[in-house]
Symmetry: C2
DNA sequence: GTCTATATAGCGATAGAC
DNA sequence: GTCTATCGCTATATAGAC
């Protein structure tokens, strides 16, 4: 697994694991230059292999993209589910999921960009698989908004609209985030948690 | 000029104007498949020309991208300036600019995607020129937020953060918008104007 | 200003030695 | 499982006829 989570768990030899190195090389290249602008030679040389070395471990360039996209989506989904499950009120849940989601999009902005912007470059089978994960992610946020409306904590004009706007704010962090900036991913998460709550509060 | 504005003005012979046809062909291709995945043969054949025909009118594929990106940014900036200038209070101004911005990102989602996602594929000179336009766009929104805080109509934790979040919501419309959906760009704009106001209101 | 033909380069992926 | 060498193809861009 790529280090798309902040949890410490990882086997020590992951640095010398060639498929893992290839995935990391591909993640950097795809995020920086885009899928089509990245060459398999780029990926191979970043991972310290010859051009042919890639194909021992992955059937195609798209297969690398798919594994990155799928795992990125799964990690994001599981993170949101855990954040929502650990909260005792919709307000707390929204604060937790928005904070974690925005933080993740900053901390793992390379994988997040692949998740958000390279979707169209998957094969149709792989697009379908990822689409299922996207719907699950969407459902976590929507369910929290719905629960808040039901409990009376939130007042919104339209649940799907508000859900989408919440996601837009957090997702867009991956577009503008630059590791050079001073703000920490955690500070960004805290700010977005508060902005998210503003979107669902009565006026 | 490409039809990136909803204003009716346009010369009748724009359909037969070859550079214009090439720009429209490039806009469609870049938005659907991305800059690097688009071939100059794609663009030429969509415009009804041979592969070589492109180079009579544009020096390179990147030149087509630059003209689309620059004009898209200019139109967006001018639209926001006009919307802000026509409002008599910060509340009205924010409603106007968020509504217009979100509507534009739906109505012209192809050019908007080029504006938002193909920035990195410009040459460094062209990137610099576009960056200037981006700062102007940002300033329009930031000035409205600042004015609202000064007048007491808005209460925000942080002006740059809030400005960015407002832009994120509207910009992201270009990512998810699909002309197949039933909602009109105007309805989307109206919803986003209200969501924008929520972000700046006191709690 | 458009075409056909092509130069030049780089692509993704494979063959076969080690 | 890694390499060198290369296949077959497509890319951007140009040359020169009309």
């Amino acid at each position: 697994m790529l280090s798309t989570m902040s949890s410490p768990a990882r086997s020590v030899d992951s640095v010398t694991d060639t498929p893992h190195r290839l995935l990391e090389a591909a993640a950097e290249a795809f995020a920086d230059r885009g899928f089509h602008a990245t060459t398999t030679r780029d990926i191979a040389s970043r991972a310290g292999l010859s051009p042919a070395g890639v194909y021992v471990h992955f059937a195609s360039k798209e297969e690398l993209l798919y594994q990155l996209s799928r795992e990125g989506h799964e990690v994001a989904r599981d993170m949101l589910l855990a954040a929502a499950a650990g909260a005792s009120t919709p307000t707390e849940a929204l604060r937790a999921i928005m904070g974690r989601f925005a933080t993740w999009h900053a901390e793992h902005f390379r994988v997040a960009r692949i998740v958000q912007y390279e979707f169209a470059n998957l094969t149709s089978e792989h697009r379908d698989a990822v689409l299922t994960l996207r719907k699950q992610i969407d459902a976590v946020v929507r369910d929290v908004v719905t629960a808040g409306v039901a409990s009376g904590e939130f007042t919104v004009d339209d649940v799907p609209d508000t859900t989408l706007a919440l996601m837009s704010m957090a997702v867009d962090v991956a577009r503008w985030y630059d590791p050079e900036i001073k703000r920490t991913p955690e500070a960004i998460g805290a700010a977005y948690a508060e902005l998210g709550l503003r979107l669902v509060r009565a006026s």
